[in-house]
Each structure stands twice: as C-alpha cells, then as structure tokens.
C-alpha cells in the first residue's frame, strides 16, 4: 500500500518536474541572452494559456490552438524584448527588476480584465484516465512528460546543430566578439526571449489542466521554476531541466511525507535561499570567476 502511494507521488513529482523544467529552461534562455531574471515569465505564460483557451473556445482544434499560441507568445516576447526590455538592458539591476515587475502587474491585470478571473477548466489533448496496465501515470501526465522530453530535445538540437543556435550561443558567451564577426547580436537576444516566451506558454498549457486556469496560477509554478534554474546553474539549460525534475520529485515526496502540502511554497523559498547561499553556481556548474 505504502509503495503504491510512493509510486503515485513519484510520478506526480515527475510530471510536475517536467513542467518546472520547461519553465526553468525558459528562465535560463532569458538569463543567457540578457542576464535578467524574468519575474514576469510566469504571468506571461499564464496569459498565453488564456489566449490558448480563447482560441479553443473560438472553435480551433487543440493542436492548432497550441501551435498558434506558441507562435503568438514567441512574437509577443520578441516585441517585449525589443520595445520594453532592450532600452534598459544595460542599466542597474533595479531598473530591470522594475521593468519585470511592471510586466508582471500588467499581464496579471490584463488577464483578469480580458478574461473572467475565475477558476477555469483547461482541456488536455491527451487521453483521460490512467495508462492501461500502469495505474501510476495518467494519460495527461504521460503526455506532459513525453512532450517536455520532445521539447528539450528540440531545443538541444537547435542549439547544437543549427547556425542560428550557434550564433545565439556565441552572443550569450561574448556579445562584443560575436558582433565583431557579424552576428546581429540584438536580434539574437530578442530570439532568445521569443523562445523563452514559447517555452513558458507550453509550460502554462501543460500545467493548466492539472491545477486549473486562473490569474494566480503561475506564481507558485514560477517559484519552482526559479528553484530549478538555480539548482541546475542559472546559465545551464540542461542543468535547469534536471533541476526541474529534481525539484518536482523533492517537492512531491517532501510534501507528502515530511512537511505536508501547506508548506510547499515555503519549501521552494528555502530551496532558493539555500542554493543561493551554499552553492550559487548550481549543482552541476563550476563556480564562475569574475574579474574585479
């Protein structure tokens, strides 16, 4: 019986972890391209999910609405980077934090304003019920895990094997030199933001069927995303993906046996503070040295 519960928790943790991984990779993407922590990533994802719901209700099929939402989120994120973030990119951290807090407030408000701010059910494209012969994983959960793996593989292939991916990595590593060899650095930064927006939207659409859609949906998820990002090393997408899975599993198991569901957010808080203090470079990274 208790193994049963354990396996249930394990797979629930894995599912949540896959979603956190998706959001964490989005956060890393922004960090690598502009060295910002995007506090608005969660609210942007929540807004994208509302857009997806509106498209579905307008009569689009799930997957066409899914694709359209990814595209729209990509374009909107590129526009936000170009119009709002780029002008303050090189200012003090305070200025960038203010920009992200402003975006967070605006998207939160717009979502409640344009769409009704009540709990909404969000459809899942995957079969309902549990998998045949495997009671620990629901159809949706299995779909989420598979889709996340697919998405991470696509991101990896993009960065590893395409010229564009190479250019983006070059800009992240050394913006000045890459500009000197003719890479349009500003466009690469915007592209990073666009990809982050699409990844965030994907995370939002995957978690909404589990926790229901409402304007406050992503605050907790974002916290786990940050914890995952830090755990894996803030500049390392693979670390962040692994961090997401670790955080999801830890949270599910610790939440079930040690601290109860009421302290889940405090657990994320403790994790964030602990990683920042004990191992700021993350579990998998060597410490970065900076020249004074």
């Amino acid at each position: 019986m208790s193994t049963d519960i354990f396996l249930h928790q394990l797979f629930a943790g894995l599912t949540a972890g896959a979603i956190y991984a998706s959001l964490a990779v989005a956060l890393v993407m922004v960090w690598r391209s502009t060295h910002h922590l995007n506090f608005a990533q969660g609210e942007m994802a929540m807004f994208s999910t509302y857009v997806a719901l509106a498209l579905i209700e307008a009569g689009l099929g799930y997957w066409s609405a899914f694709a359209a939402t990814l595209g729209l989120s990509f374009l909107a994120s590129v526009a936000i980077e170009r119009l709002i973030v780029a002008p303050v990119a090189r200012s003090q951290p305070l200025a960038t934090v203010i920009v992200f807090v402003a975006l967070l407030a605006i998207f939160h408000s717009l979502a409640s304003w344009l769409f009704t701010p009540v709990l909404r059910e969000f459809p899942s494209p995957f079969p309902a019920g549990t998998l045949p012969g495997f009671p620990y994983l629901s159809g949706h959960a299995a779909g989420v895990v598979a889709l996340t793996l697919l998405e991470l593989a696509a991101v990896w292939l993009f960065f590893r094997f395409t010229r564009l991916g190479l250019a983006m990595r070059a800009v992240a590593q050394n913006p000045v030199s890459s500009r000197l060899v003719g890479i349009p650095a500003a466009r690469m930064l915007a592209l990073g933001w666009g990809l982050a927006g699409a990844l965030g939207a994907c995370a939002g659409m995957m978690i909404a069927p589990i926790i229901y859609l409402d304007p406050n949906m992503m605050a907790g998820v974002l916290l786990y995303g940050f914890a995952a990002t830090l755990l894996g090393g803030i500049a390392n997408p693979w670390g962040a993906a692994a961090g997401g899975l670790i955080v999801g599993l830890l949270d599910s198991l610790v939440g079930a046996w040690l601290i109860g569901p009421e302290l889940k957010l405090s657990f994320a808080l403790t994790l964030i503070v602990a990683v920042l203090l004990v191992r700021p470079a993350g579990l998998f990274a060597r410490a970065q040295r900076s020249r004074v």
Binding site: P93, I98, A102, A105, S112, F226, L269
Partner: protein, 324 residues
C-alpha cells in the same frame, strides 16, 4: 547665493503646506476619506522603510510584505490575546520586526542585486501560504484571519476613534520621517549611498558592507512591521490573503513612482498607491494593476526621480528664473 536659497524656500513652503493640510485633515474631510488618509500614512511608513533599503542603499527587496504581515499579526496578537492598548503594541512590533529583518538580512546581505530580489520575491510568494499553516493558525487564525474588536481610543482622548487612529498613524509617520532624515543625512547615509553606487569602492574605504546591509535590512523591516501593526490597528482585520506578493509589489511601485531615495517621494508614492487605483477601479476592478505597471514604466523612462524628482526640478527651474 539667492539662486540656492530660492528652491530652499519653495521646498519649505511645500513642506509647511503639506504639514498644515495633514493636521487640518480631520476637520476638512469625511470619516471615510480620513480612513483613507490613515492608510496613506501606513503605506508611507512601509515605503520609507523600503526606500531606505532600495532607494538609498540599492538593495532590491520584493518581499517587504512579509515584514508588514509579521507586524500586523504581532500587533493583532498583542491586542487580542495580551490585551495591550493599540499604541503600546508599536514598540514591541518594531523591536521584533527589526530583529526579524536583521536575521533575514544577515544571509541575504551576501546576495548581490538580482539574487536578493529573487530571494525576497520567493518570500513574498510564500507568505500567505505560511500564514495559513495549521501549526501557526492558533496565532494567525488560519485562512479566516483575525477579526479585532472596534477601535477604542484612550480614555483621555477628546476626539473620535477615527481621529485617534489617524493621529496615531500621522505621528508615527512623522517620527519615521524624522528617523529616516537623521539616518540618511549623516555618515551612515553616505555609507549607504557609497554601497549603492559602488560596492567595491565602498569596501575599500572601510565600509563593512555585510554588516551595514543587515542593519539597514533590520531598520527597513522595522518600518514595514510598524506599518503592518498600524494597518492591523486601523483596519481591525488581519488576513493571510491581504499579504500576497502584490502588497510587496505595491510598495515598490510607490517608491519608484514617488521617488527613490526621497522622503517626500515615499509619501507621494503612498498617496499614489492609495488613491490612483481607487479612481481606476471605477472603470474596472482589474485595471488598477495595469495602471501601476504602466506608471512604473513611465516613471522609469520619463521621470527617474519619480514625483519627488519632478517637483524638485520644478523648484529648481523657478529658482533659476527668479534669479535671472
């Protein structure tokens, strides 16, 4: 010389006018408006605290709502369980919140810029859930919160209870402004600004940045806690959902729109946060936060000194014009 004294006079006239209005307010406005003004005082105290940390010292906190909540719960508990008169709960709350802020500041002071913002953001998101925890609910009242008895002014107070809470909040605000003025004018203020503008240079001239940050964190949390206590005293209700992330964010909105590193700016920010969304809510309840967000961006791009900076510039240009 006159060129310098003129803006000074302009400033003095403004301060005297604002003070006179604040003192006369109980006889000029309705009880409801007076309650709103009391809330302005409460917010202004919390914003002064955040401004000390963020505006003068350059440390970004997105989690001051947590200390606000701590002060509110402590004060409610002192009043309800220990039967202490409302105004006497303030020193206790101040001392405890200072300690809490200092303790949080000790490790947090090691975090730079964005990481401190992140840690405090996590704190702000976690607080409402923490307040609802069953272990704490004996003190916090769980999700229902604590409902307090109606305000009782001290026996010797000649005016109404609304006047009493307003006077209490206003006096505390004036004391907080005085303390902030002393802190930022002296050597400590120079050290804070050095830490904000060039941390490395600050440490080479002998500023112990970790200790200074923890101390300022303590003072800043103390202000937030006092504001929370006053909020419990005036609103008579303390509930976990009033201390969500958006409380912390509204404090940041206030100091950015009002003016970073400015005492009058903190008060202007409190007026903004209290009254602008109220007006906006008549259009749509959800529009308030969009207006906050837009004003943050506008402040950042157009008026980096906030409202206080605009007024200062106005005063300067008047002075310049009169001296020719």
């Amino acid at each position: 010389m006159t060129g310098k004294s003129r803006p000074g006079t302009f400033r003095q006239i403004l301060i005297a006018g604002a003070l006179a209005l604040a003192l006369a307010a109980p006889w000029l406005v309705s009880d409801y408006r007076l309650f709103q003004l009391t809330q302005v005082c409460v917010l202004a105290i919390a914003m002064l605290g955040l401004n000390l940390l963020t505006g003068w010292c350059g440390q970004i906190s997105l989690g001051h709502g947590a200390f606000f909540a701590l002060g509110a719960y402590l004060s409610a508990w002192f009043m309800q369980q220990a039967g202490i008169p409302d105004w006497l709960t303030l020193p206790g709350c101040a001392a405890l919140c200072f300690t809490a802020g200092w303790l949080f500041g000790l490790p947090a002071a090691r975090l730079e810029g964005l990481y401190l913002a992140l840690a405090s953001f996590a704190l702000a998101v976690a607080v409402p859930q923490l307040c609802k925890h069953p272990v704490l609910s004996a003190w916090t009242g769980g999700s229902n919160g604590l409902v307090l008895n109606a305000v009782e002014a001290p026996a010797l107070w000649p005016l109404s209870a609304e006047h009493w809470t307003y006077a209490l909040a206003l006096c505390t605000l004036l004391a907080a402004m005085g303390l902030t003025h002393r802190l930022v004018r002296g050597q400590l203020g120079l050290a804070m600004r050095a830490l904000r503008d060039h941390p490395t240079a600050a440490s080479t001239i002998g500023i112990n940045s970790a200790r200074l940050k923890a101390q300022i964190f303590g003072v800043s949390a103390m202000f937030a806690g006092i504001a929370g206590a006053l909020s419990a005293i005036t609103v008579r209700y303390v509930g976990p959902d009033s201390f969500d992330m958006f409380l912390s964010i509204s404090l940041l909105v206030g100091i950015v729109v009002g003016g970073l590193a400015s005492i009058p700016g903190s008060v202007a920010g409190a007026l903004f946060v209290q009254f602008v969304p109220h007006t906006a809510e008549q259009i749509s309840r959800e529009a308030a936060w969009a207006i906050y967000g837009a004003c943050l961006l506008i402040a950042l791009w157009v008026a980096p000194g906030g409202l206080a900076g605009l007024v200062r510039r106005m005063g300067d240009s008047r002075g310049a014009r009169t001296t020719g």
